[in-house]
């Protein structure tokens, strides 16, 4: 049985994938995770997960370019310029 380990290097940081190993159950997996990913004090916390509990999703269709959900969906430069110009000429 293969286990995946995610490790946190310092408090407050995100957990990142460390690696994987064979272990027959959670007790062994916990012991091995401790040895493989924290024996030099390089982690402050570990997530130890059976590989079979993880699914991978790699297909993200976006056929009709729905960019309004991203920052590159907006080009405010020209409008902002015009708005600034109007504001300055309108001022008394």
């Amino acid at each position: 049985m293969i286990w995946e380990v995610f490790r946190q290097e310092r408090k407050g940081q995100p957990f990142t994938h460390g690696g994987s190993f064979h272990a027959p159950d959670q007790a062994f997996a916990d012991a091995y995770a401790r040895e493989f990913y924290a024996r030099r004090g390089e982690s402050v916390a570990l997530w130890v997960v059976p590989r079979e509990a993880i699914t991978t999703i790699e297909e993200f269709p976006d056929e009709f370019d729905l960019k309004y959900r991203r920052v590159d969906g907006y080009s405010i430069k020209a409008r902002l310029k015009e708005a600034r110009e109007r504001a300055s000429t309108a001022a008394p």
Binding site: F21, A23, F28, A31, Y32, R34, E35, F36
Partner: protein, 214 residues
């Protein structure tokens, strides 16, 4: 030598020789993950030996390395249990591991209550690491406990395990292990087999005059 130094040396010798015996598995343990885990246990034991020798050395006016390496082989007081060479028998290795950790826990709990603050302090520090050794021993006991070769190994090593502890602590060990107290294999001046081990352990160090840096 006073009783305090004697006690420290007994403990340190146990940890040094067991640490070495366990490190004999480095690179040849049953599978790779276990190899790494068992090596850490061996390193912790040698680390405990070093800390204990340092305390004894402060009292005897020497240093930890001199106590670990420069005594004559007859001067060591490690329990016969830790001297046994068990590679490549994993069932006996785990049986010794389980028995030793159980015995050591009893001894360390007692030492934590010691009037001597230094001894109590080092016992508390050692105990914090031994917790993980016990977890490791227990997970293996769960896996191998039902195997005949494991039962045979415990049967064989039980009198040796009793010899790790002083007589007044033995009933507690018998209770925890669930076996009857029988005649123990006592600590004694080590024999020929230990002399061979010592010979190899000190050969590099002895190749330069005393006091040489390595």
């Amino acid at each position: 030598m006073n009783a305090r130094a004697q006690l420290l040396l007994e403990l340190a010798d146990d940890e040094l020789i067991l640490g070495w015996r366990n490190s004999e598995w480095t690179g040849i343990a049953p599978f790779l993950e276990e190899d790494v885990a068992f090596s850490s246990i061996a390193q912790n034991e040698i680390g405990h030996a070093r800390a204990l020798y340092e305390l004894a050395a402060a009292e005897l006016g020497t240093d930890a390395d001199a106590l670990a390496f420069d005594r004559s082989p007859e001067g060591y007081r490690c329990a016969p249990l830790v001297q046994l060479r068990l590679v490549p028998d994993w069932a006996r290795t785990i049986a010794r591991h389980v028995l030793y950790e159980t015995a050591d826990a009893i001894r360390i709990e007692r030492l934590k209550e010691h009037d001597d603050a230094e001894l109590a302090g080092i016992a508390a520090k050692i105990e914090r690491e031994e917790v993980y050794h016990r977890l490791h021993a227990e997970m293996w006991l769960d896996r191998l406990g039902a195997e005949q070769r494991y039962a045979d190994a415990v049967e064989e090593l039980w009198p040796y395990a009793l010899g790790v502890l002083s007589p007044e602590l033995r009933p507690a060990l018998a209770e925890r292990v669930g076996r009857e107290e029988i005649e123990a294999v006592e600590r004694a001046a080590p024999g020929v087999e230990f002399a061979e081990l010592w010979n190899e352990m000190t050969m590099v160090r002895r190749s330069a005059p005393a006091g040489a840096q390595w």
